[in-house]
């Protein structure tokens, strides 16, 4: 793995994320924080859509449920942040495994619809479940940030933790891609029936990847809402963000680690720029929509696909 150029590209990316806000300041850190969260969502969604060929419209449920459980552990049970991170990830992964064994029997559009149902059902449950604060949500007392040095200092620690989760997402995507397990997933993507004939245990593989793809978004959810100071079901289970994650994948190019990461990063920077630009801020949604339409029409393989077409050498480097 150490001999592969892409491994070093990943290392360089993570180092850049660590170094840039130290020199660029707090504004850069805020922008990179959101970019890192988007990249984590896109990279893990890529495991389902890009590798396995199952369109998951409800990937946000991992993020939201992770956040809800984590913030519950911190505010109600008084757990430290690290314990809440691990606890939320474990519970979400187990729930995803159980759920995956059920809904992954469905294929194509039926599966996609079922994943939307999962988001809505979970949101509805959390909105009506009083221990999680119901629809009012849970608020984090400012004193909860004291162990990390206060509300302001905690932001740096949360940022570096998100970068650690991002690094894990990159590595996970890369390792699965190069593994025998990953090969099984690709076989399912190309032709599930043929893969099963060849001995790939499709139902198990799918449930495992569904569960694995939930772990790191759940951690990102805990960190995002810990920083946010409040978690409300409306914010945590926002279907729009789920769909945006698919857009990020299409933008960057699904099926590749590089594409998913680039898509998440580019999407955040692009939307952030439009929102705050003096020229475009009044019609940012129109421009975002038009540009995304152009990309889907003229570069269906996303930015990575476009690069591969232009320079075939990039196929060997950008995995």
């Amino acid at each position: 793995m150490l001999k592969k150029p892409f491994f070093w590209i990943m290392v360089a990316t993570v180092i850049a994320f660590v170094v840039m806000p130290i020199f660029g300041g707090i504004g850069v850190r805020e922008s990179l924080f959101l970019a890192a969260v988007y990249m984590i969502l896109a990279l893990n969604l890529n495991l389902m859509i890009g590798y396995t060929g199952y369109v998951n419209f409800g990937s946000i449920v991992f993020f939201g449920l992770g956040g809800t459980l984590g913030i519950y552990a911190i505010t109600v049970m008084g757990w430290p942040l690290w314990a809440a991170l691990i606890g939320a990830a474990v519970v979400v992964a187990l729930l995803a495994l159980l759920l995956g064994l059920g809904i992954l029997r469905l294929r194509g559009a039926y599966f996609a619809l079922a994943t939307i149902g999962v988001v809505e059902a979970t949101k509805s449950f959390v909105s009506n479940f009083d221990p999680f604060g119901g629809s009012t949500g849970m608020y984090i007392s400012f004193s909860s940030y004291k162990p990390l040095g206060g509300p302001r200092e905690a932001l740096w620690i949360v940022y570096f933790l998100v970068i650690a989760v991002l690094a894990a997402s990159l590595l996970l995507g890369y390792m699965i891609k190069r593994s025998r397990f990953g090969l099984g997933l690709f076989a399912i993507r190309e032709d599930e029936d043929a893969a099963m004939v060849l001995g790939v245990k499709a139902p198990l593989f799918k449930a495992i990847i569904y569960s694995v793809s939930s772990i790191l978004p759940a951690m990102a959810g805990v960190l995002f809402f810990f920083k946010n100071g409040v978690i409300q079901p409306d914010q945590a289970f926002e279907l729009t963000l789920s769909i945006e994650a698919i857009v990020m994948l299409m933008l960057g190019g699904q099926g590749t680690v590089f594409g998913a990461a680039l898509g998440g990063f580019a999407y955040e920077q692009f939307r952030g720029y439009l929102l705050t630009s003096a020229t475009f801020s009044n019609f940012h949604l129109v421009i975002a929509g038009a540009l995304l339409l152009l990309i889907v029409l003229f570069a269906p393989g996303g930015l990575t696909g476009w690069l591969h077409e232009r320079w075939s050498l990039t196929r060997r480097v950008l995995e």
Partner: protein
């Protein structure tokens, strides 16, 4: 946009030659230019902008011997929380905002509030009634609205006075603000000895209320209290009318106070709304305009009667302005101290902030009124203040006779 640009140009050309400003005071905030909160957020923004232009036209804010011009930096939060923190951090760190206003809605404000603490900036919150945000240990938040748990107190007082035997159905949006209001209302109804026969939350995206309305009929309720924001509240009011529900009183949150509510026609008749402010109120302000002056100037500029969102926006401006002048400084701690000390009457009502550490910044001076859509002698719909009866401009129509 054009109108706005034009009015800015006019005000700039009027003010430019006469006044020389020492510097700018930058106030940063986000507003919901897109998304579901747009209808509620826009009047608030207009309130901010009217205040800014009037202050600048009158010579700016006086700090010591210098005059400072008010400058706004604002971004679209798209009615969602995901970017609120990023935008507020940008306002503080890149746009060098001296002070902050909150976004519209309790949910977005809860997300933005922590930034004021992290970066030590005073944030005047308006359009955000939910009280929990103020119980987290903040030092720089100052709330303009009466907190959510007291929102429906005036409506329940009116029911108690008119019909103590009424059966009340609480039907509200399953969201942070409305749920906090409903919880407070249920407790208050219990205290008054009123009978709550139904307590049900609906999903914020509900467009068909018939199953809920059927339940209301079955419960035998005579009074319906609840709602949430504009979209759901106006739909609920319309369907109540279409289904010809025989209710003696309908009191909904937020929606009936948005000027667009009048477009519902007959469905609006008789609907009442707990309101932070109405144009007809008569307070003698310690500073700033009277309600009549504010209403006149707002109408002249936006061609619509202001609701409480607009008044809350404008009042945020004058309260901040007064505090800066009292402090004689732009320093956060000095301005925060002036706000902590404030106990003043404005056109918007009395303003006083809790100073205890456990709920710092919570609004404790301001009272709400109840307004009702009634018809004048020509049959034209208009809002009247009906409660408290002493401050009212017309008696409460109870029961509503359609």
């Amino acid at each position: 946009m054009k109108k706005l640009a034009l009015s800015l140009l006019i005000s700039a050309s009027l003010t430019a030659p006469a006044i020389s400003y020492a510097k700018d005071i930058v106030i940063g905030f986000t507003t919901s230019e897109t998304g579901k909160l747009n209808a509620d957020s826009t009047p608030q923004l207009q309130g901010f902008e009217l205040w800014r232009d009037q202050v600048n036209a009158a010579g700016g804010i006086k700090v010591g011997n210098d005059h400072y011009k008010v400058k706004f930096v604002k971004y679209d939060d798209q009615s969602t929380a995901s970017r609120v923190q990023q935008l507020y951090v940008r306002l503080v760190t890149q746009d060098n905002a001296n002070f902050l206003f909150s976004p519209y809605s309790s949910g977005l404000t809860a997300t933005a509030a922590i930034i004021s603490e992290q970066y030590g900036k005073v944030m005047i919150t308006t359009g955000a009634a939910e009280g929990k945000t103020y119980e987290l240990g903040n030092q720089y938040l100052f709330q303009m609205y009466t907190p959510a748990n007291l929102y429906l107190a005036s409506a329940l007082d009116a029911v108690k006075a008119k019909d103590p035997g009424a059966k009340i159905a609480l039907i509200y949006e399953n969201g942070g603000f409305a749920k906090a209001v409903a919880k407070g209302a249920k407790q208050y109804a219990g205290k008054l000895g009123l009978n709550v026969v139904m307590d049900e939350a609906y999903d914020p995206s509900t467009t068909d209320f018939s199953p809920i309305l059927n339940k209301v009929v079955t419960s035998g309720a005579t009074v319906l209290i609840g709602g949430g924001h504009f979209a759901d509240g106006s739909t609920l009011a319309r369907q109540l009318h279409e289904q010809n529900m025989k209710l003696k009183m309908i009191s909904l949150l937020v929606a009936p106070d948005v000027p667009k509510f009048v477009e519902l026609g007959d469905a609006a008749y008789g609907v009442s709304v707990p309101s932070q402010w109405e144009p007809e109120v008569k307070f003698t302000p310690d500073f700033g305009p009277t309600a009549a002056q504010f209403t006149k100037e707002y109408k002249a500029r936006y061609h619509v009667t202001p609701g409480y969102h607009a008044a809350g926006g404008y009042a945020s401006g004058i309260v901040l302005e007064h505090a800066i002048e009292q402090a004689g400084s732009l320093d956060t701690d000095k301005v925060a101290a002036a706000l902590n000390k404030m106990n003043a009457t404005t056109f918007y009502g009395n303003i006083q902030f809790a100073t205890d550490k456990s709920d710092h910044g919570l609004q404790i001076g301001h009272d709400m009124v109840l307004a009702q859509w009634q018809k004048d002698s020509q049959g034209k719909l208009g809002k009247q203040v009906v409660w408290p009866a002493a401050a009212g401009t017309a008696p409460l129509i109870y029961p509503i006779s359609k």
